[in-house]
């Protein structure tokens, strides 16, 4: 752990990795409570996996036309792919009235299939896609930090403007509609927010593990407080701790920081669950 800080002077990626972790923590801490309140954890998972399509496309284009696409970070393929997937689910759900879990399954696999197909036509790049699947906090540089900062800014401003609408929609859709507020538009805003949070998290934990950070810290916060706003504050705090502390703690060991982050989140969740159950039993005994 001390080695982490002493190595920081020689390896600037340690500092940017830590900053990237904090910024990703803000994104998932704020959006996570919406995701679990609206029960869209797996929708977020599908959005995360559809990112493979966008990343695959950029990698493929870079290989086929290096003069035009050579300098593009695959992360810029992830952002439109996530937004497209999120908005597609919202619109199709509204107009086709399909079952949500069917759409989730379709989106999840279509995005992956497109990405894998494109990667197959791109020799030598298989390992790069792995860093999106499983995350690679060790390669988070200033470019990723700036992107995460921009994502956080957009997320926080949008939440500041739409929080009341999103909360009302989570509580009772029909009533929100009667209040003259468009549920379709509000839902699309929320889905877009989820897409942004997913992109912010990809480099830190990888898209396979994104749903862990979107649901576990928020659920842990939900064990500790009763209302949505305090829940967002607590979960943001927990997310920032989770994206930084385990990373520093396992530095220099063979444990991968991404797994350490997710397993710490799981431990935290179980701990708060145990606290709530224990308190609940004591209250039941007392009364």
């Amino acid at each position: 752990m001390i080695r982490f800080f002493s190595d920081m002077s020689v390896n600037p990626l340690l500092l940017t990795g830590l900053l990237g972790g904090v910024l990703a923590g803000v994104a998932c801490g704020v959006i996570g409570p919406y995701v679990i309140t609206r029960r869209m954890v797996f929708l977020a998972g599908a959005v995360a996996h559809s990112v493979v399509g966008g990343v695959g496309l950029v990698i493929f284009l870079r290989y086929r036309a290096p003069d035009r696409f050579g300098g593009i970070d695959p992360l810029y393929g992830a952002l439109p792919a996530a937004l497209l997937a999120a908005l597609a689910v919202g619109v199709v759900r509204q107009y086709a009235r399909e079952r949500l879990d069917t759409l989730i399954g379709a989106l999840w696999s279509i995005g992956m299939a497109v990405g894998i197909l494109l990667i197959k036509f791109t020799p030598g790049y298989q390992t790069e896609i792995m860093s999106y699947l499983f995350g690679n906090i060790a390669v988070v540089g200033w470019r990723e930090v700036i992107l995460a900062l921009a994502l956080d800014a957009v997320i926080l401003l949008t939440v500041a403007a739409f929080h009341k609408r999103i909360t009302a929609m989570c509580l009772d859709e029909d009533y929100t509609r009667l209040q003259g507020v468009s549920v379709l538009a509000t839902n699309l805003v929320l889905l877009a927010l989820v897409a942004l949070a997913v992109v912010a998290l990809i480099r830190v934990v990888g898209l396979i593990l994104v749903i862990a950070l979107l649901c576990l810290p928020a659920a842990a916060a939900g064990h500790l407080v009763r209302r949505l706003l305090p829940m967002m504050l607590v979960s943001t705090l927990l997310c920032i701790l989770l994206t930084t502390v385990p990373r520093v703690a396992v530095y220099g060991t063979r444990i991968s920081p991404e797994s350490a982050i997710v397993l710490s989140a799981a431990g935290l969740y179980l701990l708060t669950l145990a606290i709530v159950r224990y308190r609940g039993r004591r209250r039941a005994v007392a009364s």
Partner: protein, 264 residues
């Protein structure tokens, strides 16, 4: 020229509605006028179109024929001035929200943007809870409420929106006699300020508390409450099958005489 006081709050004329083209109409040539001082009970068998009528008044459904005016405008334009207490409302027991948060969503139409409700809105929400006698529940979560408390909270949410008319769909489902009486008293008090439309399949309960009764079984017939006799009710329910006019003989002094009590 009529005076402002007699202007109807709701005017429904010749409304026909089908859920699917070619299906039997859920509502057929329904006309109804609701005045400011009305406490209208809408009764009828299950599937008779009661909830459909309320949804048309709210603009959630659009009739294929006929005209609907609420507060002088098409329903869609004024839906946020209508207080609505739905029959089936799914309040997620796990939602990280207190009763106050739920009632505050009644203020959403007045202040749809932003992060938090201002003090003025919070005060209005608390007043609405006060009016329904459940101010002390503000910090509870929905899963910690009884059926009756929940109904009161939902009425409070409807009131919080500065409602000018109140529509309630089966508000007494899952509420015990004692609570029922409390809710009714609160509604009567509210009726001094706004018209109330209460949908119920419980004929006896409704007719004992309202000023007018609309019998709805695809077609609608309005009676002043004194006219509601067992014959009228039997007439209405005939298509739906045999009537079991059950009396409310609870031996409870608060229970009103049941107008449809009598030999079936």
């Amino acid at each position: 020229m009529t005076g402002a006081g007699s202007e109807p709050v709701v005017r429904v004329s010749g409304v026909t509605f089908r859920y699917a083209p070619g299906a039997r109409p859920a509502l057929e040539d329904v006309s109804l006028t609701i005045l400011k001082e009305d406490f209208l009970g809408v009764i009828g068998p299950n599937g008779g179109g009661k909830t459909t009528l309320l949804k048309i008044l709210l603009g959630m459904l659009v009739p294929e024929r006929g005209e609907v005016r609420v507060l002088g405008r098409p329903p869609r334009e004024v839906s946020r001035r209508i207080g609505y207490v739905p029959q089936y409302v799914h309040l997620d027991p796990h939602a990280p929200a207190t009763v106050l948060d739920i009632v505050l969503t009644g203020r959403l139409g007045l202040s749809p943007f932003g992060f938090r409700y201002s003090r003025e809105h919070v005060r209005a929400a608390r007043e609405a809870l006060e009016m329904m006698g459940v101010a002390d529940l503000a910090g509870r979560r929905s899963r910690e409420l009884s059926g009756g408390q929940r109904q009161r909270v939902l009425v409070a949410r409807a009131l919080a929106s500065r409602a000018e008319i109140l529509l309630l769909d089966e508000p007494m489902a899952g509420v015990d006699m004692h609570m029922e009486q409390g809710i009714l008293n609160a509604l009567r008090e509210l009726n001094r300020r706004m018209p109330i439309v209460l949908v119920s399949h419980d004929v006896g309960f409704v007719s004992a508390h309202v000023t007018r009764v609309a019998c709805l079984n695809h077609r609608l017939v309005v009676h002043p409450v004194e006219e509601l006799s067992p014959q009228v009710i039997r007439e209405m329910y005939r298509e739906a099958g045999p009537v079991h006019a059950l009396g409310h003989r609870h031996g409870c002094p608060a229970a009103p005489p049941d107008p449809c009590e009598g030999e079936p």
